[in-house]
Amino acid sequence: MSSLNAELEREDAVLELSGLRVRLGGRAVLQDIDLRVRPGEFVGVIGANGAGKTTLLKVILGLVRPDEGQVRIAGRDVRDARSLVGYVPQSFSPDPDLPLRARDLVALGLDGARWGFSLGGRQRRGRIDEALSWVDAERYADQPIGRLSGGELQRLLVAQALIAQPRMVLLDEPLANLDLRSQDDVVDLVGRVAHERGVTVVLVTHDMNPLLPVMDRILYLARGQAALGTVDEVVRGDVLSQLYGHHVDVVRVHGRILVVGGTDSESLTCSTCDG
């Protein structure tokens, strides 16, 4: 881990969190989070419900102010870095009758915050088509989004987050409500975004297993605290026992990882129960 850190010191970090502390409603939600993420790295953020995963993303987006510590994006303050970050929020299920095509949803990521109508133009259309092709969504580009499958929608949201060519994308539970095959498809897609396009990915999920093939590092959240490193460094009995504050075991079966132990359902994820 120390050699990795040394390497990171030399490289420019896309995302840098130092000494981050967040209190919400009188409770410490995140404490002492330190993180440096380099270009093209895929970081999985894992934790049970209420562990602070969404809060962490909101802090990076500048939507929640930390009580202490710093967030730098490509060396800049978060407020000056809005265009560098793409975001896929948690849970999106449009009304079935919503009159909006797949391409319209993607276009919102390009210029949805600008006033007035878009003047259209061939160049804009070209960029939208290109973003649709990154996620293999050309086939349903003109379909209304209310009638697409969860996997198809998730691809469109990735395209929406990527179309403005950010340095980093943050995805909040993009695998929730997807069947296993769609989960693997989305993970594979996002993995290519990181490793082929060089866009840093921070992906939040409560089950680490679908991410094992692509994840470079894991940020494991429990009790407001974090353990950071490669899967082999973090997902170990001793490390997680210390994080959870009681004894847990890490079991590997058929290439999957199970974290088991204790009876405290608040603090412990059963990584495979719902997979």
């Binding site: 009159p99 919102l108 990521g109 379909q143 209304p144 499958s149």
Partner: protein, 291 residues
């Protein structure tokens, strides 16, 4: 048929009614699409109801009802938007603003019934007065409509973003509150103009009906707005023609109110949209996973 149409157009009250009705239909149709997409029909309905208070005050003060409708609509809309910042609070805020202003309105309506010169007023306010409306308000109606449509044009992309996917919009820098307040202004104008035609009680018919049908039939917002405006126009024209006709069928030489016909036509459109085929489903055969 042709003779009927020429006769219809020759009546001066009908000319004014058609002109004002058309302006209102287009504005309501276009604004209505966003109301449906944002799920704000309760706020729309409340704005129509509280318009009663403003119109009654205007009547008592000798000012055209339009200004009373719009004045109170805008204030009520801003109050709803200010009080109900989160979606969950919005319906509560709407309900509170609605009951407070309607309470004041009921007192004003009572005063009107006490004045011989204003006894027809409450009926006109509640159920519409398109055939008796002063032709002089045509220009203000046109200007208000223009204002509402320009506002929507200005808001277009952030409004679509904020309505469809608010969390992503906020992260991209869309000012959700500002967009919400400006949209509320356009909504207040559309509803209160519509109240002039169909009456305060039925003003949401033109707002929600054509838009709800259009949303089901179309694939993008621009298309939905165009179809809703067109449906609204047809509805208002037919409603006016039928109301004019009813003068001859109904005994006692008193026509039935336009709002009745408009509401019946809107209901018909909505039923057609629900029963009839919706927009084509995705060609991909994967069904949507359960949420």
């Amino acid at each position: 048929m042709l003779a009927f149409i020429t006769e219809l157009l020759a009546a001066p009250a009908v000319g004014t009614a058609l002109l004002i009705g058309s302006l209102v239909a287009v504005t309501s149709g276009v604004v209505g699409v966003f109301v449906v997409v944002r799920g704000q029909s309760f706020a729309g309905h409340a704005l129509g109801d509280i318009g009663t208070t403003g119109a009654a005050a205007a009547y008592l003060g000798g000012v055209p009802a339009l200004y009373g409708f719009i004045g109170v609509g805008v204030l009520g809309g801003l109050a709803i938007e200010r009080l109900g910042e989160r979606a969950r609070e919005r319906d509560i805020a709407t309900g509170i603003v609605l009951s407070f202003l309607l309470g004041v309105g009921s007192l004003l309506l009572y005063f009107m019934t006490q004045r011989i010169s204003a006894t027809g007023g409450p009926v006109a306010i509640l159920f519409g007065s398109i055939f008796t409306v002063d032709p002089a308000v045509t220009l203000p109606v046109a200007l208000f409509s223009l204002l509402a449509l320009l506002l929507l044009g200005f808001l277009y992309r952030p409004l679509v973003f904020a309505s469809v996917h608010p969390q992503a919009a906020r992260a991209r820098g869309v000012p959700l509150q500002g967009v919400g307040i400006l949209f509320m202004l356009a909504l207040a104008i559309a509803v209160e103009e519509s109240a002039l035609v169909a009456g305060a009680l039925l003003s949401t018919a033109l707002l929600i009906g054509p838009a709800a049908a259009a949303v089901r039939w179309t694939r993008h917002i621009g298309q939905a707005a165009a179809v809703a405006a067109l449906l609204g126009l047809v509805t208002v024209w037919l409603g006016i023609a039928l109301a004019y006709q009813s003068y001859f069928w109904s005994g006692a030489h008193r026509g039935w109110p336009v709002s009745f016909f408009i509401v019946m036509l809107v209901l018909l459109e909505y039923l057609l949209a629900r029963i009839g085929p919706a927009k084509r489903a995705s060609r991909s055969d994967a069904p949507r996973e359960a949420a």
